[in-house]
Symmetry: C2
Subunit: 173 residues, 2 copies
């Protein structure tokens, strides 16, 4: 079942809206389904850096976690839960060895960001997404929203981290 | 020989200025020595993300490369050489296994940013730093500028990458 819309898994009755409902740049989604109008939120790539990570295994990526201003402010204040309007973006790229850098270092030690893999988002609205900890989850592959089945796997994985408002990534100073 | 100032290695005759010469936020240094007045440039942690990397070996870090607006604009336009005023920051943290994340994944696969290691900068001024490819190099350890001896090792390492204006990091879309 391949769908081209993002379904917010928190919604008891998801209503598909095909119109272009664009969110304000860097702001929370406007409550329509799919969130972000099925498009990558404008300006997310300019958001401030929360932290970086490397996942081995099937993911095999290098990733950056970015936050809109509301998320960054909460992170830096060390305040939980995140306030409504916070959006956290996870950008990831294939984990590739850099021949170019290794030549300079004189040994194979440098791994850099290769082609992008996908972009994921967590959007906070404590009322609207109450059944999933106050968060909606989204993923874009090549700029296209992932289907509902995939998004249903997000919250169960984040659920054990309730003490940290379901967010794994710590702020890297 | 431990010095508390950043010496710009490009300067034929480095003049130590002890006064607090603070640069404009996010802008290029003001030409004084040490650059940035010996302090981390204000706001660098808010700069936009260029890319991420992992270095093995002695470095053993996860790193993010950030750029001020001039640097980011040049990167996104794919224009070389970088214009004067471009500043590139390399922020790095110890590479640590995340027990917290591995529990969720059910296997040891997650590596995250631990304690910060150091922060490095490249500052472009094609005239002032002509003898080092138009770039000044700086490093801060715990917010304190590294000594001159260390900074002398920067350009020789970057020199082979002349075709890319001495900058290793590629922009990660």
């Amino acid at each position: 079942m391949k769908k081209v819309s993002i379904f917010v898994i928190a919604a008891a009755m998801a209503v598909s809206v095909s119109g272009a409902l664009t969110p304000s740049a860097g702001g929370a989604d406007d409550g329509s389904y799919p969130i972000f109008g099925g498009k990558l939120p404008p300006g997310y790539r300019d958001w401030k850096l929360i932290s970086v990570a490397h996942e081995e295994g099937n993911l095999n990526d290098l990733r950056a976690v970015l936050g809109n201003d509301i998320a960054i402010k909460a992170y830096r204040a060390g305040k939980l839960p995140f306030p409504d309007g916070a959006i956290i973006a996870r950008v990831a790229w294939s984990y590739v060895s850099s021949e170019e850098n290794n030549k300079v270092f004189g040994r194979p030690q440098s791994f850099v960001a290769g082609p992008p893999t996908n972009v994921q988002f967590m959007v906070k609205d404590s009322k609207k997404y109450m059944s999933t900890g106050g968060w909606a989850f989204a993923q874009f592959n090549d700029g296209k929203p992932a289907d509902e089945a995939l998004l249903k796997t997000c919250f169960p994985c984040h659920e054990p981290d309730k003490a940290r408002d379901f967010v794994f990534t710590h702020y890297a100073p």
